[in-house]
Symmetry: C2
Subunit: 206 residues, 2 copies
DNA sequence: CGGAACTTTGATAACGTTCAACATTCGTGG
DNA sequence: CCACGAATGTTGAACGTTATCAAAGTTCCG
C-alpha cells in the first residue's frame, strides 16, 4: 500500500530520503464510511493527511444545527493546527466514504517544520487560502438569498451536486426542503435541466 | 518612533540582531482614518503588521452588501499570505482610526521564513486560529437568529460594542435597524441596561 | 455651528423555516 | 438478488423573523 506522504503537495519539495524520514513518524489509519475521526472537544495533537476517501468537517451550533465547513479529499490535511499550544478540535470530522489517512503527531510535525522550512512555506500558503475560502463562503452564506447561493453553487460545480441535498443544505446553511423547491423552480424557469438526482445541465441566459 | 517589529508576537523568539535584520527590510507606513489600505483585486505582494490603530477587513458581495470579517489591531498582521504564488487581495482593508503599519514584501518575508523556521511555526499557529475563528463566526452568522447573534456578541464582549451599530450589523450580517430594535427589546425584557450608546450592563438570567 | 453620517421607530412585505405527509432511494441482511 | 427498513427527498400550507423603505431624531466632526 502506497503511503500518503507521496500524495501530499505539502511534501512536494522533499527528496526520497526526507520522505522516508516522514514515513517513519507517520501512522497509517483506515476508517469506514460514516465513522467519526474526531469530535469537537477531542484533544487535538495529531495532523491527518488524506490518502484516499473524503472527510467532511462541520460545526454544530448550540441548537443542534449543523454547518458543513469543508470537504477534504486526497492530499488534503486536516486544517486545525494549533501546533504550539495544545488544544482541542472544535469541529467534527466524519468520513463520507471509506478513508485512508496518515497521522503525524504535532510534536513530530513541529520538528519537521523546523528542519524543512519549505514545508512551512507551503503550509502557510495553504492555510491562507483556506482562510480566504472560508471567508468567501461566509460571505455567500450570510449575505446572499438561498436562490443565489444555490445558483452560485451550481455554477461553481457545473451543475453537479457533490453531495446529498441534506449535506448541501448544511453547506449552504439552508434546509433540504428549500434546496428541493429551488431546484424544481430553476427547472420550471428553464435555468437547469435535471439529468440525474445529482447532475443537472446548466442552460444559458441571465 | 518605535518599530512595529518589536510589537509583534510573530517575532517574539528572535534576538536583537535578527530584529534589526527585519527592520531593514520593512517600510513604515501611516494611513489616516477611513483610508483604504487595499482594495479587493489589488496585487497582494506585501505583508502588513499593525503598529498602532485599527484595520477592518471586509468583503462585499455582488449586490454591494458588506460582511465585516475581521478587526485587526496592534501586533496583528494582515492575514492574506499567498506568499508562494503571487495573487490579489480579495478583501477590503480600511483604517478605522489613524494607523501605523510596517510593510514587508512577500519576497523578503519568504527569505525570512526560510531562515527562521520558528517564525513560520508561529505563523502557522496564528493562521490556524484565524481559520477557526472565521469558521465559528460563520456558524454564528448563518445558523443563529439575529437575536441570538446579538446576545452572543454582548456576552463575548461584556456588553461593550466595539464599533458603530452599522459596522456591528455588517459583522453580524444583519441591519442597523434590527440591532437597534433588538437592543431596546433586550432592555425592555430586563436583559441589559444601556449605560452609554456603546456600553451596556448585562443583567443576570437566561 | 451646520451638514453628513449614524440611529431609532413604524409599517409592510417576503423569504425561508417548520411541520406534516407522502415518495423515493439506499444499503444491508436474508 | 430481492426485500425490507431506514434515510433521504419532495410537496404543501402556515407562520414567523427579518429586511426594506420612509421619516424623524441624534450624534459626530470639521
Amino acid at each position: 500500500m502506497k503511503s500518503c506522504v507521496h500524495l501530499v503537495p505539502l511534501f512536494n519539495h522533499l527528496n526520497d530520503q526526507q520522505m522516508d524520514e516522514i514515513l517513519e513518524m507517520s501512522i497509517h489509519k483506515r476508517i469506514k464510511k460514516n465513522e467519526v475521526l474526531f469530535n469537537p472537544g477531542d484533544r487535538a495533537d495529531t495532523l491527518y493527511i488524506i490518502a484516499s476517501g473524503e472527510i467532511h468537517l462541520s460545526t454544530i451550533n448550540e441548537n443542534g444545527k449543523e454547518l458543513l465547513l469543508e470537504i477534504l479529499s486526497v492530499g488534503d490535511f486536516i486544517g486545525e493546527l494549533n501546533i504550539l499550544s495544545m488544544s482541542t478540535y472544535d469541529v467534527l470530522a466524519v468520513a463520507k466514504t471509506e478513508t485512508e489517512l496518515c497521522s503525524i503527531k504535532f510534536e513530530d510535525f513541529q520538528q519537521l517544520l523546523m528542519k524543512y522550512p519549505q514545508v512551512s512555506l507551503y503550509l502557510v500558503q495553504e492555510l491562507s487560502q483556506r482562510l480566504n475560502r472560508s471567508q468567501q463562503q461566509s460571505l455567500i452564506n450570510s449575505t446572499l438569498s438561498v436562490q443565489e447561493r444555490v445558483k452560485n453553487y451550481l455554477n461553481q460545480h457545473n451543475g453537479q451536486l457533490l453531495m446529498s441535498k441534506k449535506d448541501l443544505a448544511a453547506y449552504l446553511s439552508t434546509t433540504p426542503e428549500s434546496i428541493s423547491r429551488i431546484l424544481t423552480q430553476f427547472e420550471e424557469e428553464g435555468y437547469i435541466e435535471k439529468i440525474s438526482s445529482r447532475q443537472m445541465r446548466l442552460l444559458e441566459e441571465d
